[in-house]
């Protein structure tokens, strides 16, 4: 026989647990786990998936290293399928439901730009590893940090490299009609004008077209000395194949990152020879641990890493390490990111405000040239391991 008091206590605890259950359904953040959570937004599926895979693998290597050093983090993976709206939903979920301490990602420029706005609104530290669009860190968002160099550097370093070894006077731009393509090409056009190189063609194309031959023929007839292309992998391959077909022969092919930096592109020797591309990272650069990272990646995943893998790895290491040291407090993490400095496979990392950028790491980019199916760093001189072949010797 239970006393009235006992029954009352039972009833109270029962109703409390029901209330707690109801509350946890309505306010999932309340019953958050004790472990430190870091969100990852990436293009796991969708058209950007092949490159997205590099970010995933880079972060997985970071996970291993973090575990080895005793930093306890739980990663919450979200797939944005390459679409900004989905990246935004993912960010909302991470910020409000999962209660993450910080977020690394997304991959694409469009997604990163959209998510940056939300990071600022929900006050979650966001570290963008590899997105090029300049605007991302030009909006004064105090909660958004970017590791990689922005689009203007992609173009700058390429044009600086060629003007070092030659005197090109005209340039043609062929780029995909997307956020990434347009913003990188715009940066390129601005810098070309600054360097006094005349823009003779401006051809945005719709991704997924089988036939670029007419566009390339048109460009060829304008005789550009430089051809600057911005594409993801398959378009890069198609463009170069068809460029070879129509006999487009400028003094140099300049590839604005992404597709042109993948091993898949390089291995197609018939078309990739002597293409210059700008990149955030190469495995033969003298940054601490860079070549080991490449070897580890190759043995674990069977492919060579692109710069995206290195960027993602470094970003996750920085974010997780900072988050753990600050006990998962978002504000403290933000302050630590703003004031800290790191050294790793991406070289020196420090987030600064300059030239209208905020929380932007002044990352130096490299120019690689594909020589015989392999990437060789040719510029800037501090990082160069080989001399560039210029002008383009022909097909």
């Amino acid at each position: 026989m239970r006393s009235t008091a006992e029954i009352a206590r039972c009833a109270r605890s029962a109703s409390l647990s029901v209330a707690a259950l109801a509350a946890s359904l309505a306010f999932p953040g309340w019953v958050a786990a004790e472990t430190l959570k870091i969100g990852v937004i990436n293009s796991v599926t969708g058209p950007e998936a092949p490159i997205g895979e590099n970010l995933t693998n880079g972060i997985k290597l970071a996970e291993e290293d973090l575990a080895k050093s005793g930093t306890k983090v739980e990663l919450v993976w979200e797939d944005d399928t390459g679409k900004p709206q989905i990246a935004m939903s993912a960010m909302e979920k991470l910020a409000t439901r999962d209660g993450v301490a910080g977020v690394v990602g997304p991959y694409t420029s469009a997604s990163a730009n959209a998510v940056a706005k939300l990071a600022q609104r929900y006050q979650v530290p966001l570290l963008v590893p590899a997105a090029a669009k300049e605007e991302i860190t030009r909006q004064g968002y105090q909660w958004v940090y970017r590791l990689n160099a922005p689009a203007n550097v992609y173009a700058q370093v390429l044009l600086d490299a060629v003007t070092e070894v030659g005197k090109p006077k005209t340039i043609a731009f062929i780029y995909e009609n997307t956020d990434f393509g347009t913003s990188t090409a715009d940066a390129g056009k601005k810098y070309a004008e600054k360097k006094g190189i005349k823009i003779v063609a401006d051809e945005p194309y719709s991704k997924g077209s089988p036939d670029y031959r007419s566009t390339l023929t048109k460009v060829k007839s304008l005789n550009p000395e430089l051809v600057f292309m911005v594409s993801y992998v398959v378009d890069a391959i198609l463009l170069m194949r068809q460029a070879r077909e129509v006999g487009l022969k400028p003094q140099a092919f300049l590839g604005g990152g992404a597709g042109f930096t993948t091993a898949q592109f390089a291995s197609d020797k018939a078309i990739s020879g002597n293409v210059l591309t700008s990149t955030q990272w190469a495995d033969d650069v003298k940054w601490p641990g860079a070549s080991d990272f490449a070897k580890r990646y190759l043995s674990k995943f069977g492919k060579e890493p692109t710069y995206h893998a290195a960027c993602a790895y470094a970003s996750m290491m920085i974010m997780a390490d900072t988050a753990a040291k600050q006990g998962g407090d978002r504000k403290k993490i933000r302050n630590a990111l703003a004031s800290g400095s790191w050294k790793g496979i991406m070289g020196d990392v420090k987030f600064e405000a300059y030239d209208g950028y905020t929380n932007q790491n002044k990352h130096p980019m490299l120019v690689l040239q594909i020589q015989n199916g392999n990437f060789a760093a040719v510029y800037p001189p501090d990082f160069a391991t080989k001399k560039p072949v210029y002008p383009f010797p022909g097909w």
Binding site: G46, P210, R213, T217, R241
Partner: protein, 288 residues
């Protein structure tokens, strides 16, 4: 001048592929009066089949059409028996929706199996060219144009000279009369859909050395195929061939003289003009 010639040449080459897709669609419409919105996906399946054969057995894409054609024919016949047959007498709108649904199923099943990663076939001649009167002509596209011409010729011969071919044409002309004449119209429908699918799949196989392969590749081709069929005249094989070439050249010239991003707009505007002013198309009979 060179640019004009070059882009016209590329237009004709790619137009040949479009034509093959269009012919398949026009046969299906002609015989069954079904607007097949899944046609692009059938092309996509042909591409993946070619890719599988290429990567697993190392067979050249052009040679593997010997396998692709019968395989796709059987697949098409299967689809017809199981799905399309049931809506032959339904409202055209329902037929359209069924084929849209079918297209979604096909592309998404492939996406589940192979992911949306873009696949690319690289052969020795993927970027080589033949020199024709000083113009570089893409080798794989030239070969595919050749094969397309051969297939079209065989098809035309089949439709004109053989009994089965004439039975198909009779069914297309007047289904009821054909049935009264003792033609098994059900079997003709199966044949028509099978042939249409085989042609779409073959077009996919032919274009695969010069393009890339992904589950959603069908979408772009379906709409263009309709433009071609309407332009050429629903039910006319020669019309579809002409239509394909015209669309290919229009696209190519628009890319050069206007802008690469807007080239499809010209195709669609042409489509609307044809629908409004000459809906029977160049060679078809008015069937609206």
């Amino acid at each position: 001048m060179r640019v004009l010639l070059q882009s016209t040449a590329s237009g004709i080459l790619i137009g040949g592929v479009y034509a093959l897709v269009g012919i398949g669609l026009t046969i299906i419409y002609g015989v069954m009066r079904v607007i097949n919105f899944a046609h692009g996906e059938l092309l996509m399946i042909g591409m993946y089949l070619t890719w599988i054969i290429f990567t697993s057995f190392g067979v050249d894409p052009f040679l593997s059409i010997a396998i692709t054609i019968p395989a796709m024919f059987l697949f098409g016949a299967f689809l017809q028996r199981v799905l399309i047959n049931r809506v032959l007498n339904a409202l055209p709108q329902n037929q359209i929706l069924l084929t849209i649904g079918l297209g979604l199923v096909l592309s998404n099943v492939v996406m589940l199996i192979y992911t949306s990663d873009y696949k690319i076939i690289t052969t020795r001649y993927s970027s080589s060219t033949i020199n024709l009167a000083g113009l570089p002509i893409s080798t794989p596209l030239a070969i595919s144009l050749l094969i397309t011409t051969v297939i079209t010729a065989i098809l035309y011969f089949f439709l004109l000279k053989t009994d089965t071919g004439q039975a198909i044409r009779a069914t297309a002309q007047d289904r009821d009369a054909a049935q009264l004449m003792g033609i098994n119209v059900k079997r003709m429908s199966v044949l028509a859909f099978g042939i249409g699918t085989a042609l779409a799949g073959t077009a996919g196989a032919l274009v695969s050395p010069t393009y890339y392969i992904f589950p959603q590749v069908g979408g772009a081709f379906t709409l263009k195929a309709f433009v071609i069929v309407v332009l050429g005249g629903m039910g006319s094989v020669i019309g579809a061939t002409l239509g394909g070439i015209i669309i290919g050249v229009t696209e190519s010239l628009a890319a050069v003289y206007v802008s690469s991003g807007m080239k499809e707009v010209f195709v669609y505007v042409l489509f609307l003009l044809v629908l409004l002013f000459k809906p029977a198309g160049l060679l078809g009979r008015s069937r609206m």
